[in-house]
Symmetry: C2
Subunit: 541 residues, 2 copies
């Protein structure tokens, strides 16, 4: 009988591959645990036995609520490897939202760190399915709450160490998590084994072949500072495992601990959002830690030039990346080749970057026609890659909007230069469409924000019978004369139009003054509310 | 309608991906042609029009007989992208073998360089299918032979530049070539689009994350010195394209030209068999060319330590790799991380190396049980990877042997250390199986070859009723006393056994003396013939 092996792209293969050459490499959890990859495999097998013993296999959904730990990494492998779906619960959501995601995901089990037990316990009566509960704790004397199946380490110690994972279709669902917008319920985003393996490989094809010390290399020491529940820690734990890197999981993010771990283990590669990097640089302990071998990928929000320069002054090799929950997440990386060869690299490092290998990006108008790649013409960024989510869980209309025309719609507006460098200029819902032009609300706000006395500014589009929309500014001012300030704002916008930084359509029709701009619950300027306030006449010029 | 794009892994995606960021990068053909990647895409589209116009699309087989050229690279993309199979004809085979492969592959078209027209023309009457013929030439005044569809450049110039490639199943066959053993007809080996894309990514995940200047990085200049008909130039043209490297195709391999191209274009990355590297180092022009930035991967045969040292003395960063026609080809690479960190790196560089990411290797006994990873226990090397051929074309029994037990059988015998380093010790058909032990014929020959007066040596196993097989030596001697030489050989083997370099089973039962060892048509020692000569008593002690 012919028995050629048709190698499915399964998450288990990433671990199996690493074990062949890196069995003695280390995985560190804060100051608690130091494992080898060989230990990791044993624990992944024991966890497989535990899950299997609870009847959690194919079609089951297993949720995790934890800080970044080796246990979480074990779940990254073992849960999908038994054929179940790993639901990485966003522990920063409100209890009601957490409950919503647990019920929407149809979780069959929850592995919960004791820090989150007080959040979870009151929700239990309202969880619609029977759930198995497993306690995660760093303490030997932790009490397992009533109704729990047990404590993770005790369960592992008692489990069969020889669990044999079977193989299955690579399109089997592996992970599930929820993304929250400003409105509506959280939306479930899923990835298959195949997508995660290809994302891992694509990420390394992008980050490996960087000349010099940039990117990711086999001598790096890796520590995530993006929570593992955020798009699988941006996929890096899988990539670090495949490469056999020393991995350091920091537990709860506290600046003092993070800096101490960087120093103690010689961490050379991390990733985080801009605010975390700023927090670390501002921490008092930071000054005495050598950060000159540290490479950091920034995502989740644009990398501000000031922060990039502050990091570079500390010797940090910092670069922006771009993606979103729906894109697994990697779509683009700042040009790490160019940033090694240029004198002032801040602008290269902060750019949205170039599409990584296997990613196709287009900038399109509302009819899905390509706009010119001239660095000026803007449109919505749409994408194709082997690792984009195929839709929102149980949300047909959301999926339809996401994939209109067969391309994933990022909801971001950007421009692209002929060399493929993308610059995001706005969110699609905030861009002002006037006279056939797309005006970046961000660009307009940036210019107005430089005017003396302007504390806050929002640029929004209001309906206009002739031009579609027209820009309107809403300002909060300091102790300045309102009339003078308005005149200065108009002059600054006119100057930007004259200099070509803004299109002639960007001159605002009206300027409203408010005490403070309305904000959303997470502190972002609430443009939706501003637009409705303008519409119902509750703002004054 | 929901229209999520399920991204198939197609060869066209490699080119499309590169075009986004490297449209102005160069592709050079000897001293003839300098193209940009944007030009390459245009030419690939025009070739698509030409092929399509000849009715060559899905299910067609298009053969190429060419030196390494940009035109060959265009075929690497365009032929599979129209859905056809690219048959890369081994132009070094005998005319009869070439005819066999053309008929066995069922070629529908042959693109043939004028240098090979004299080989092909006499074969045409015996080609069983109707074939379209296209002439490849570097000369503007070349005469197109009767019966040809035309000359490549002229056909491209006249073709529709806007050919739209469609998409199809990633498991569609993309390439086909033939591998020859010492006996039997050439065997057809096929790869799908999916396999080639995954091999490309796997290769870069292996070679990208090497620290320092090793491996492959985005600032490399690439030139193949393994013919493109040998396992797709070991896959590197696809990898170089995906990374957007400057690529240099040298045409026919002539030492002077190769060295001149390395110097002119600052080539930093190549791959070749050991004999080609030796030839380049020995060429008179070599002394004046700076090779200190050149990285070379050696495959196809073991990298001799002496050659490695000679290359290192010239500043060349040389490493062995291992694979075969049936494995696309990459399975292992010498440990490039270790070779950067150690003083004397020759042994690391010449080792068969460690499995690259996504490759699973086992060393097994005849019952497919794993032997110990102790660096001593030997067995057959068997493999799994996402890019292994699924079988030989129209050869069920060969396929069955290749994939016995669900693992690809390399036919090589090796040992593995706990850190995953493989060392090939013999071909399975040459290993001597005695008393339950596997004795490496190569190891035994190496030791005997050091004895004074021994010109040639072959160690072969002969049937033994008690021990299964017993080793026998066949020697060709110089001007030495036969009896003394035999005694010295026995003493050398005994010393090696005493020192642990050989097992106690390795002491030969008999030593035959011949004038010269019999060779195969390609100059290898013909052990099959030697065994039959021993069996029929035609050798004397």
């Amino acid at each position: 009988m012919t028995q050629a092996y048709t190698y499915p792209l399964l998450i288990g293969q990433l671990l199996r591959s690493a074990l062949q050459t890196s069995a003695q490499q280390r995985i560190t959890y804060a100051d608690q645990i130091d494992l080898t990859y060989a230990d990791l495999e044993k624990r992944v097998k024991r966890l497989g036995s535990v899950l299997s013993g609870l009847g959690l296999g194919k079609d089951a959904v297993v949720a995790v609520m934890d800080w970044d730990s080796n246990r979480y990494l074990e779940c990254f492998f073992s849960v999908p490897m038994v054929g179940a779906t790993l639901h990485t619960v966003n522990v920063r959501l409100s209890p009601e939202q957490i409950l919503y995601t647990i019920n929407h995901a149809e979780d069959d089990a929850i592995l919960v760190h004791e820090d989150f037990v007080p959040v979870l316990l009151p929700l239990l009566p309202r969880i619609t399915r029977k759930v198995h509960l497993i306690l995660l704790t760093d303490r030997a004397d932790a009490v397992v709450p009533t109704g729990f199946s047990g404590e993770y380490e005790a369960l592992l110690a008692a489990a069969d160490p020889d669990f044999a994972f079977s193989e299955f279709d690579e399109n089997t669902r592996a992970t599930l998590f929820y993304t929250t917008g400003t409105t509506g319920d959280p939306k479930g985003v899923c990835y298959s084994h195949r997508q995660l393996v290809l994302h891992t490989m694509g990420q390394l094809v992008a980050l490996g072949p960087i000349p010099g010390n940039g990117g990711v290399h086999r001598n790096d020491v890796y520590m995530p500072i993006t929570p593992l529940f955020h798009v699988h820690g941006w996929g890096f734990p899988y990539a670090a495992t495949l490469l056999g890197l020393h991995q350091v999981y920091p537990g709860r993010y506290e600046p003092t601990r993070l800096l101490a771990l960087i120093e103690k283990h010689g961490v050379t590669f991390s990733h985080c959002v801009p605010t975390i990097l700023a927090m670390l640089l501002q921490a008092p302990e930071s000054a005495s830690v050598d950060l000159s071998r540290w490479k950091v990928i920034i995502g989740g929000a644009a990398l501000p030039e000031g922060l990039a320069r502050a990091a570079m002054a500390r010797g940090i090799d910092v670069h922006a990346a771009y993606g979103m929950s729906e894109t697994c997440p990697f779509l683009t990386l700042a040009d790490m080749v160019a940033s090694q060869a240029t004198a002032d690299t801040a602008l290269i490092r902060t750019a949205t970057g170039k599409p990584i290998p296997m990613v196709q990006l287009r900038i399109v108008d509302p009819e899905m026609r390509d706009v010119a790649k001239d660095g000026i013409s803007s449109g919505e960024v749409v994408a194709r890659a082997p690792w984009l989510t195929q839709g929102y869980l149980k949300n047909t209309s959301g999926t339809k909007d996401l994939w209109g025309g067969g391309w994933l719609h990022t909801g971001d507006v950007g421009v692209m230069t002929p060399d493929g460098t993308l610059r995001i200029t706005d969110r699609l819902k905030d861009v002002i469409k006037s006279g056939g032009e797309w005006i970046s609300s961000l660009a307009l706000e940036n210019i107005v924000s430089t005017v003396n006395g302007v504390l806050e500014v929002a640029a929004v589009g209001v309906p206009d019978p002739r031009w579609g929309e027209r820009p309107v500014l809403v300002l909060a001012l300091g102790a300045v004369d309102v009339k003078d300030a308005k005149a200065e704002v108009s002059a600054a916008v006119d100057a930007a139009i004259g200099g070509g930084a803004l299109s002639k359509w960007a001159a605002p029709n009206r300027i409203y003054i408010v005490k403070a701009l309305p904000k959303t619950s997470v502190g972002k300027i609430d443009k939706k509310l501003i637009r409705s306030m303008i519409e119902d006449g509750s703002l004054s010029e």
